[in-house]
Amino acid sequence: MMLFILGALAGCGTTVLTVLITRRVRAATHGESTAVPAAFLEYAGEPPQPVPASDDEIRTEQFSEDAPADDQRYSVRQELLADWYWSMPYVRKLLGLVTTKTEAAAMGLIEKYQEVHTMASSAGEEARSARSTLNQAGDGQGVDGLINATRARIESERERSAELARLGERTREQTRESDELITRVNSIVEEIGDIADRSKVISINLGIEAAKIGKLGAPFKVIADQLRMLNTSTGEASRRAGALMEDFGAFQTRLVDDWQQTILENVSEAGESARITEETIESLVSAIEEMRAVFDRLIESTIASEGSMDEILSHLQFQDITRQQVENVDTILVDLSDQTKERMAGELEVDHADSELIARLEEKLKHRFKVYDEESVLGGSS
């Protein structure tokens, strides 16, 4: 029984009674184990072995090397039992404080647990929400979808720019063909001018010949005049046509040059714009990937944190287990006290509290077992 008490006390971290009882047994058995009171023998099972008394033994001074007289041993036993009995209220008060204080500590931890749990849950929820937003942005196609669509549009714009550049090149080739046509037309116009010039010489000669034949040549002279006028007009027309073709060729060249220049500039700008957009998109992709990784880590941390929180709740239940162990020990102490009172009835003054004795014992216990004093460990009585 005694061993059970000691074990229970050690198990709940309260060794006040352990030390107390051991000290009393030492005092009672000093030099002679048969002096141990019957009540202790019953609980210990076997008589405790004598141990050397230390300097702080309470009642060492009452024993001498000589065999103590029976009445002296009896008196010591009576005092020991009185000490034991009247120490119980203080010991039980300490045990009660263990329960009260550990419960207060546990509740404080639970309160903090709730705060941390709420924050962790909130952070986790925010991370999940942000993760979901990344996945659902852009009418449900997600950021990845948006990025891919943007990349596709950039590629499409690049193809259109390239097509425009190819169109400019084709126009340049067609312009060259057109220039050749103009050259050929000019050549024909020049030939028409030459023909007109030669025809003019013929008409002059015709006029001269008509003049030679006199009156008969008059109709031919009219024809020659008409032909000369026609040749003059034809020559003039061919020169104007040649000049016009040259102007047209020059205009066409300028037009095509300007257009091609514009196309090249636009293609270049579009290419630069696409490059910048693509770089921006890639930066955005990196940032989003980082964000996604952060969110994932946050979510994982939240889950791990919730697991740890559950572990904390599990461990905090040991406060209740300890409380019940302390209550069990308290029950044992009450039982022991009752038995002490019953067995020593008529010999031990237990019916009337000796306030001076109780106060002295409390002071002694406080002094000797400071570690277990409620003021030093438990933060004051409550």
């Binding site: 639970i110 709730q114 559950d310 209740d320 287990i321």
Partner: protein, 116 residues
Amino acid sequence: MRVLNVDDSTTMRKIVTLALQAKGHTIDEANNGQEALDYIGREGDPDLIILDINMPVMTGMEFLEAYSGTSTIIVLTTQYQDDLRRQALLKGAKAFLTKPFQKDDLLAVMSELGLE
């Protein structure tokens, strides 16, 4: 789901309440078996009773003997003796858990009992 959490330990009541509130259940508390009976008299049978055994005024075992309602009862106690467990189940408890319990274990037992 409405749950009555019966335990004389403030710490345990809080822990059980936290574990179940996270699942959206409504939790009420009683300090011992007698308070639990009084609560049921006022509010009717909850869907689930989480019941400690070692309590002052009226123990969990005494509550099981006195209770004749329809609530599902899960015993949650520090005491684990085969005889105690057998007696609790005979008196109407549907499950017997010992402290310290893991939240997931309690939820798994509730799930097995059809209490989601």
